[in-house]
Symmetry: C2
Subunit: 548 residues, 2 copies
C-alpha cells in the first residue's frame, strides 16, 4: 500500500470550504429582500441538524427526503444528511401528488424536511406514506402559520435548537449511497438513481476544471437550477468545497426578481435551463440598463439544447459566455461541456466569439473520466464525423449502473448506459445532440431532428421560442409541426418561418404547419414539455393540413 486509503467522502469537501472560506456568504431570497449567513454558520448548523436527526433515529443508509426551494436550510440539510451517512432523497416540488407518493414510498423515506410554503403540495400524501415518521418544517417570512396532516411535524429551528457542537461524520465506504434522485420516465413509474459519495465527489472535482465551469472561490454563484433537480447540477457541492458565495433564489424565480437578485449580489456564474435564459433576456431587453450584470461572466445552460442565437445575444449584449452542458439524472448529471479549446493562446471566450458560439451549439466534449460513444441499432460504434447519427452511450465513475430497486436491462449495454438521446460526434469528440429518441420525427423512414428545427426557428428575429413535435401521418408515419411563440409586438408569418427554415433544411424536413401560440408548457424542470404539447394537440383533435 503505497498511498493512503482515504475514502472519497463528501464531508471532506464541504468541511474544506468552511475551513478555507468561513466568511463566504450564503444569501437566501426572502419575501422582503434577502437573509444571509456565513458558510461556517451553515456547516455548524448542519452539525446541529445531524445531531437532531440522529436523535430522531436516522442512521447510516436511512433515506431522508428534502422538499425545499434553494436556500440555506436546504444546504444545511444536504450536509447533515450526507455527512452522517444517511441518503439525501431529493423531492421535486413540481411533481404531481401521485408521483410524489410513489417516490416517497419507493424510497421508504423516514423523514421529510420541507419548506412551509409548499406543505400544501404534500397534503394529498396524508395517510398514504407510512414510512414517514416526521416532517421538519423550514419557515420563511410570512409562513409562520403552517400545519400538516402528513406526519408529526416540527419547526426546523425548534428541531435543531437543543443541539450544539459537532457531529463526528463517520468514515464511510466511499461507495456508500449519498443520494436518490428520481427521473420521470415517458411511461411507467419514476426511476430512482442512487448516487454514491465517490461518484458525487469525482463529479464535483471535474466540474470545477477550467474547461468545464472553471469554478473558483472568487465566484459568486447562483444556481437557478433547483437543488431538487439532479443535485442542482452539483453546483452547491462545488461551491461549498471551494468556498464560493452562493446566491439562492428560493421560491422567487420570476425573471425580474431573479435578474435583480443576480445584479444586486454580484453573481459571476449562473446555471439554468435555456428557457430561464430566454426569460432573462426578455427582461433585460425590455429594460436595458436597469440591471447591472457587469460581474456576470458565465452562464451554464443545459437540460435541453442551447440555441446559438441565445448564446450570441448574451455574448454581444452582456459579454457573458454561455456554456452548454449535457447530462441527465443518470449521469449525476454533468457529462459533457461545450467549452472546447480552440488554440493554445488564450481563454475560451476571448479568443474568437464566432468559434465559441459555434461550440456552444454543441453539447461538447466529455469531462475527463467519462466516455461518450454513438452506436447503431446493433450497438456497433459509428464514425465520429459529425454527420453519422446514433444512440448516445456513456460510461464512467459517475454514470448510473442500475436503477434503484428496479431492474431495467434495456437501459444498459455492457459497461455503458443507453441514454435515450440521439446525436453525432465530430472529429474533435464534440457531441452534437439531435434529440431525445422519443422526440425525433420519423418521416418516410428518415429521421428529422426537432432540436435542429427549433434552434433554427428561434434564431429568426421576432421569434421567442419554438417547439417541434411529431404528428401521425398515414403515409409518412410522422410529420413535424412547429409551435412558435413570438416576441411581443412581432408579426412573423408562417411563410416567413418556412422560408427561413428552407435556408438549412430539405423540403421534406420542413414543418407541415406553424402554429402560433402564447406559450409552450414546461416540465417540472423547466424544459419544454413535449409530452403535454402532443397530448394537447391530441385533445384538440389536431390534424395535419393535408388530412383535413
Amino acid at each position: 500500500m503505497g498511498m493512503q486509503r482515504t475514502p472519497l467522502l463528501m464531508s471532506r469537501l464541504f468541511e474544506r470550504g468552511a475551513a478555507v472560506a468561513p466568511e463566504a456568504e450564503i444569501v437566501t431570497a426572502t419575501g422582503s429582500g434577502t437573509r444571509r449567513q456565513s458558510l461556517r454558520q451553515t456547516i455548524e448548523r448542519s452539525h446541529r441538524l445531524a445531531r437532531a436527526l440522529g436523535d430522531a433515529g436516522v442512521g447510516i443508509g436511512d433515506r431522508v427526503a428534502v422538499f425545499m426551494w434553494n436556500g440555506s436550510r436546504h444546504l444545511e440539510a444536504w450536509c447533515a444528511i450526507v455527512g452522517m451517512g444517511a441518503v439525501l432523497h431529493n423531492l421535486n416540488v413540481r411533481l404531481p401528488p401521485a408521483d410524489l407518493e410513489y417516490i416517497v414510498n419507493h424510497a421508504g423515506s423516514r423523514l421529510i424536511i420541507a419548506d412551509a410554503d409548499i406543505l400544501p403540495l404534500l397534503e394529498p400524501l396524508a395517510g398514504r406514506v407510512p414510512t414517514v415518521e416526521k416532517i421538519v418544517v423550514g419557515v420563511e417570512e410570512g409562513y409562520g402559520n403552517w400545519s400538516t396532516a402528513v406526519a408529526e411535524a416540527i419547526d426546523y429551528e425548534a428541531f435543531i435548537e437543543p443541539w450544539s457542537g459537532r457531529f463526528a461524520w463517520p468514515r464511510l465506504d466511499e461507495h456508500a449511497p449519498l443520494g436518490l434522485c428520481y427521473t420521470s420516465g415517458t411511461t411507467g413509474n419514476p426511476k430512482g438513481v442512487e448516487y454514491e459519495h465517490r461518484s458525487q465527489y469525482l463529479h464535483t472535482m471535474a466540474m470545477c476544471m477550467t474547461d468545464a465551469m472553471s469554478l473558483s472561490a472568487t465566484d459568486a454563484v447562483c444556481g437557478v437550477v433547483p437543488m431538487f433537480h439532479v443535485m442542482g447540477w452539483g453546483l452547491p457541492w462545488a461551491a461549498m468545497m471551494l468556498g464560493c458565495k452562493q446566491v439562492m433564489p428560493h421560491r422567487f424565480t420570476d425573471p425580474v426578481r431573479l435578474v435583480r437578485l443576480m445584479a444586486e449580489e454580484g453573481v459571476t456564474l449562473a446555471t439554468g435551463v435555456p428557457t430561464v435564459w430566454q426569460q432573462v433576456r426578455a427582461v433585460c431587453s425590455d429594460e436595458p440598463g436597469s440591471f447591472d450584470l457587469s460581474r456576470l461572466s458565465r452562464i451554464v445552460s443545459g437540460g435541453s439544447a442551447v440555441p446559438e442565437s441565445l448564446a450570441r445575444w448574451y455574448w454581444e449584449a452582456l459579454g457573458v459566455e454561455m456554456i452548454q452542458e449535457w447530462g441527465m439524472t443518470e449521469t449525476s448529471p454533468l457529462a459533457t461541456f461545450s467549452r472546447r479549446a480552440r488554440r493554445p493562446d488564450g481563454t475560451h471566450a476571448q479568443a474568437a466569439p464566432e468559434e465559441f458560439l459555434e461550440d456552444v451549439s454543441k453539447a461538447g466534449q466529455a469531462l475527463p473520466g467519462l466516455e461518450v460513444e454513438i452506436v447503431d441499432e446493433n450497438f456497433d460504434p459509428m464514425p465520429h464525423d459529425g454527420r453519422s447519427t446514433g444512440d448516445i452511450l456513456v460510461c464512467g465513475p459517475w454514470v448510473c449502473a442500475e436503477y434503484y430497486r428496479q431492474p431495467l436491462r434495456e437501459s444498459f449495454h455492457g459497461d455503458w448506459l443507453v441514454t435515450g438521446d440521439v446525436g453525432s460526434i465530430d472529429g474533435n469528440e464534440c457531441l452534437i445532440l439531435s434529440d431525445r429518441s422519443k422526440d425525433l420525427v420519423k418521416s418516410g423512414g428518415e429521421w428529422i431532428s426537432s432540436v435542429n428545427l427549433e434552434n433554427h426557428i428561434t434564431a429568426l428575429a421576432g421569434v421567442a421560442q419554438a417547439c417541434v413535435v411529431a404528428q401521425p401521418h398515414p403515409r409518412w408515419e410522422q410529420r413535424p409541426v412547429a409551435l412558435v411563440v413570438l416576441d411581443e409586438g412581432s408579426a412573423v408569418s408562417e411563410d416567413q418561418v418556412l422560408l427561413h427554415c428552407s435556408d438549412r433544411f430539405a423540403k421534406w424536413q420542413l414543418p407541415d404547419e406553424v402554429l402560433f401560440v402564447d406559450s409552450i408548457p414546461l416540465t417540472s424542470t423547466g424544459k419544454m414539455d413535449k409530452k403535454t404539447v402532443r397530448a394537447n394537440l391530441r385533445a384538440a383533435d389536431y390534424r395535419l393540413p393535408d388530412l383535413r
Copy 2:
C-alpha cells in the same frame, strides 16, 4: 451498486487527450532547434512501445526505469509503462552513481529507457545492477554514436519498429502501483515512494482546478521541472489529459535557451523551482525586449519558498502571475497552492496585485481532498493563527502511506504523514512554511527561520540570491550565517544587508556574518543545497566571527 465501478486508471486520462486534441503539439528541443509530433502520434507510439516492452517480457507490476530528459520519447515511455500496468521508475539523472545503483537494485528494475547523451552517467553501474536485462536508448541529434556496457542495449526506434497497432490497456485495480520515485534523505539511503493509478489520477484532476493551476486545453505548457523529479509535478499527465500543447526543453535548460524556447513556442504556463525563475529574470533583465513572453500568464513555482520580490518582478515586468505550490515526493507532489481567493468579483491576479503578492509568499491552501495540520512535539494540533509554528502533517488520497520496502515508522502518525517541514497556518487555512526542520537555526533555545531571512535579503536591490545556514556555537548552540550572491555590478555591503534585515528581524535573529559568494550550490532538483553549503564551510574550517 448505484454507480458504475470504473477504476481510476491513468490510461483513461491520456487516451482522452489524444481523442479530444489529436493535433496538440509535443515540441522537443534539439541541438539545432526543435522537433515536433502530435499528441495522437505520441499516444500511438506509446502503444507500439508497450507492445515491444510486452514482447521483451515486461508484465503487470514489473518496474521499468526511465533515465531521460523531458522530451516526446519520455512521454511515450510514461504512457506505455503505465498503460500496460508496469511501474514507471523515475531515475534522477543528477544523482551520484552510488545512489543510482542503490535505487535500481532496490526497485529491481528490469529495463532502463535512457537518453543516449547521458548513457555515460550510467556506466559506473556496469556489472552492478543484475536485474537490468536491457537498455532502450533514445537517440537525439548528435548522439548516434553511443554505446553502453551496463546491459544489452537497443536503439529506441529499432525497438518499437516491428510493432504497430494498439496495446489493449488492461483494466487494473485502481490501487495498482503506477510509479516509483526515490527521495534522497539527509541521512541513509534514498527512500522509495510508490504511486498508485488512483492517487495520480486524483492528483491530476485536482491540479487542473481554477484555484490551483487553472490548466486548460488552450494552454501551452512548459515543464522546466524535470519529469524525473516527482512525475514532473504531474504536469505531463494533466497536459495529456486536457490536450495541451507541451513544450519540452530536453537537456537545453540554460536560461537563455529556455527563455527563447518559451517565447518562440508561445508558452502560457511554466513550472519550475525559484532558482530557475531567478535565472530567467536575470536573462530578461539583461536583454529587455529581446524575448516576447507576452503569452506567458502563469508561473508555478515550488520546491522551496518563493521570495515575494521575485513574484513582484514577474508581475510588474511581465504581467505574469507567480503561483507558489508546496509539496514533496511523498505528496505526489502537489499539496497546497497559494492562489487564494480574495473576493467574489474577479480573477486572482487581476483583483489586487498587493494581495496576490502577499499570498504568493505563502505556501497556500490545501487542494480539495487533502488536509494539512500543524502539531507540537506531542502531536497536539496548534492554533491556526499565522504565528504558532509546528511540524507540518498532511493526509489524503495522494499522500504516501509507507515507503517502498522500507519501514520508517517515524515518518507517519496515525493517518498523517510527518513531512519534516515546519510552519504555521493562518486564519484562512493558508500554510506558511518556516523551514525544513533540519534547516531551522536553533539559537539560545529559540528557532530562527532561514527561509524568512533569505526571502528578506533577496528583496534588497542588488542581491541575486541568499542562503542562510546554521553554524555551531558553544553558547547559543547555533547561529545563522548568510551566503549572498550579488547581481553583476552590484556593490552591496555586509552592513547594508544587516541594516536591511533589522527592519524586520530582532537583533538576535540577524546573521552573525554575511559571506559574499559567486554562487550557491544546487541540489539535483535545483534547490539550494544547504547540506553542501554546510559541508563546504566545515571543509574550509569556517568559524563564527566571535569564535575567531
